[in-house]
């Protein structure tokens, strides 16, 4: 009943992507892949893939789907990476952001970001300690828990405000992000907020995150 014996091996996957399997980013996981690289991996077997892959024409492709243009991609490609890739041009200020915050965010997150009733956004821990495992009562705020400010831009733009998701302009998002950083004592009140600000700020919790070290087997981690 070992899983590896129940499903066929797509040898060409391993051959082509063996490097990908072991070159994941440092936080990558081993759990999802084969426990032993010498064993066949648990893999789907598609019809005809064992001897000669079915799609023999068109460069081994089925030919389904249509090309996505640069314009198509731009409509949905909204993610922001930790290095700032994807951040739009323009910017705002903390002062302007606080006005947007009071109008569109405060009802859910409180006048200073600490009152709720929904997610508590603001608050630092003395010394920026990170005792969330020790103390269940600690709130994981932007200032105490979020590792990247780029995430703040990404999430606010795609999902907030809750009643009108995705309705903020890029300028408003820059402002609100600045307001949240100000409310966490990470920016002064007179700060300008643009792509450089968001990409370069070092969040207090930035180095608190480590790879998952659970691997199965007898040791509880």
């Amino acid at each position: 009943m070992r899983s590896s014996s129940r499903y066929g091996l797509r040898a060409h996957h391993l051959a082509v992507f063996v490097s990908a399997l072991f070159s994941v980013w440092a936080c990558g996981v081993n759990e999802g892949g084969p426990e032993d690289p010498g064993e066949p991996t648990l893999s789907w077997t598609n019809p005809g893939s064992s001897a000669a892959p079915f799609p023999s024409g068109q460069g081994g492709r089925y030919g389904f789907g249509s090309p996505a243009s640069v314009t198509d991609i731009a409509v949905w490609d909204i993610d922001i990476s930790p290095n700032g890739a994807g951040l739009p041009s323009g910017g705002s200020t903390v002062t302007e952001g606080l006005k947007v915050y009071q109008k569109k965010c405060m009802a859910c997150h409180g006048p200073t970001g600490t009152e709720g009733p929904f997610d508590v956004l603001a608050g630092r821990v003395p010394g920026d300690e990170f005792q969330f495992a020790e103390d269940r009562s600690l709130r994981s705020t932007v200032g105490s828990y979020w590792p990247f400010a780029t995430t703040l831009f990404d999430y606010t733009r795609r999902a907030m405000p809750f009643d009108f998701p995705g309705s903020l302009s890029d300028e408003e998002v820059y402002g609100v992000v600045g307001a949240m950083l100000f409310l966490n004592d990470l920016l002064p009140e007179d700060a300008v907020v643009d792509s450089a600000t968001v990409a370069e700020i070092i969040m207090p919790a930035r180095d608190r995150f480590i790879p998952d070290d659970r691997t199965g087997g007898p040791i509880i981690r």
Binding site: S19, W25, L42, W44, N46, I73, W76, D79, T215
Partner: protein, 429 residues
């Protein structure tokens, strides 16, 4: 299997999401309506007494039966339901104690949304794959269905599942539904993600991809490419029918054995990259604080866990003697190797019988024949998976992760059977 009433008091404790906190009241309307449908031709059992049947009950042999129906429904006498936690960002929980076998009926599959259930016209559905690929491509739903299909049985579990039972002050009046209802099992059908990534010419140096949904949260998670080459799929079928809207209609990412949040529903976009994107859900949420001022990132795999579904709160055993202890076990790391049962609070353990099929990354039904002597007992189950991992106690977990750790609540559950037959949640001492 179930032997008593259906009113299920909920947990009063949270588990990472807003907990249900009110009684689920069972509507009798369906029952009454069902009875009324044939009330025009009531035939009673008649003069002959016996069989233990009430004289006023209908005699189905004296009434022409109902015609076939286009879409079937449950017996009006069966009223299973999910426990709800209200908001659009909320959840609903599967009634484990009312199910048999391992499959979850699609309408009883748990839900956990981050901004409600979107309504998507399948003719307007597109899946965009771009980034580190040779050919950025848009797939319609029909396109996806033309590829070779794969179908497998898998569990999916929210990594916040079980939080309410993983506290030293846990509420003893908590059913498996209230405690661990964010787990369900289905047959998932779709196309292997590896097939799609080959089709678009995924670059060999792509190591991560972003999966993004078309819900109001535009929920997104970063996934290592190795999962795509392993067993990930884009699923459009669930238990033989189209995926339900609550489960991601018309198509979702499905990552067997991984925390439910990563199986992004209503998936619209996959972007291949050489680094993770650090989305809100994978950093500020779904990361696990551990001792030493750290938090685990990308804790994808759901470790082995088991759950007794009978007898549990609010069951009441009516007599001593044979009691079949039953439940299910599952692991995100492969197959369940063994399930052990203790009836004495963990003092001694004995193997339960595993019911076939025993499938990888799927719930496995277990059974254990127990001869109850009528005295107080303390029932527990623990799963052992193919890696040799033994489902730990809460103390073992908090010793290494800390009392404030979050997610991956897979500690051993326990049920105290009182001498009057009542059953209450009581984790290992």
């Amino acid at each position: 299997m179930r032997k008593d009433g259906k009113k299920i008091p909920d947990a009063s404790e949270g588990d990472g999401e807003a907990p249900p906190n009110e009684l689920r009241t069972v509507s009798r309307r369906a029952l009454i309506t069902g009875a009324a449908a044939t009330a025009g031709s009531v035939m009673t059992v008649g003069a002959a007494r016996g069989l233990g049947i009430e004289q006023s009950s209908l005699d189905p042999t004296r009434v022409p039966g109902e015609r076939p129906v286009e879409v079937g429904s449950r017996s009006p006498f069966e009223t299973p339901g999910k426990q709800l936690s209200g908001s659009a960002g909320g959840s609903s929980r599967t009634p484990h104690h009312e199910l048999h076998g391992i499959l979850t009926p699609a309408d009883l599959h748990f839900e956990r949304h981050h901004h409600g259930i979107p309504q998507i016209d399948p003719t307007q559905y597109r899946l965009l794959i771009h980034g580190m690929v040779d050919r950025p491509t848009l797939f319609t739903l029909d396109d996806l269905k033309r590829f070779p299909q794969v179908a497998r049985l898998h569990f999916i579990e929210c990594s916040g599942n079980g939080g309410a039972g993983s506290r030293t002050d846990a509420n003893p009046r908590m059913s498996p539904q209230a405690m661990d209802g964010l787990l369900s099992t289905s047959e998932w059908s779709g196309v292997a993600l590896a097939t799609l990534f080959e089709e678009v010419g995924a670059h060999s140096d792509a190591t991560w991809f972003l999966a993004e949904g078309s819900d109001a949260a535009v929920m997104s998670r970063s996934i290592p490419m190795e999962k795509a080459w392993d067993d990930a799929m884009i699923a459009y079928g669930q238990n033989g029918e189209a995926i339900r809207p609550e489960q991601g209609y018309p198509a979702r990412l499905f990552l067997p054995g991984w925390e439910g949040n990563t199986s992004v529903k209503w998936v619209r976009r996959l972007e291949l990259s050489d680094r993770p994107f650090m989305s809100r859900e994978e950093t500020s949420k779904y990361s696990d604080p551990i001792l030493g001022g750290k938090a685990r990132l990308f804790s994808f795999v759901m470790d082995a866990k088991s759950l007794i579904t009978y007898p549990v709160y609010p069951d009441r055993l009516t007599s001593s003697g044979f009691v079949e202890i039953s439940g299910y076990a599952w692991t995100g790391r492969g197959v369940i190797d063994r399930v052990e049962i203790s009836t004495d609070g963990g003092g001694t353990w004995a193997d339960a019988v595993l019911q076939e099929p025993v499938l990888p990354k799927c719930t496995t039904r277990f059974r254990y024949a127990w001869d109850w002597d009528g005295r107080p007992a303390h029932l527990m189950s623990r799963a052992i998976d193919e890696t040799g991992y033994i489902q730990p106690t809460l103390e073992q977990i908090t010793d290494v992760r800390g009392p404030g750790t979050r997610y991956h609540y897979n500690s051993i559950r326990g049920w105290r059977v009182n001498s009057n037959g009542s059953v209450e949640f009581q984790p290992p001492a």
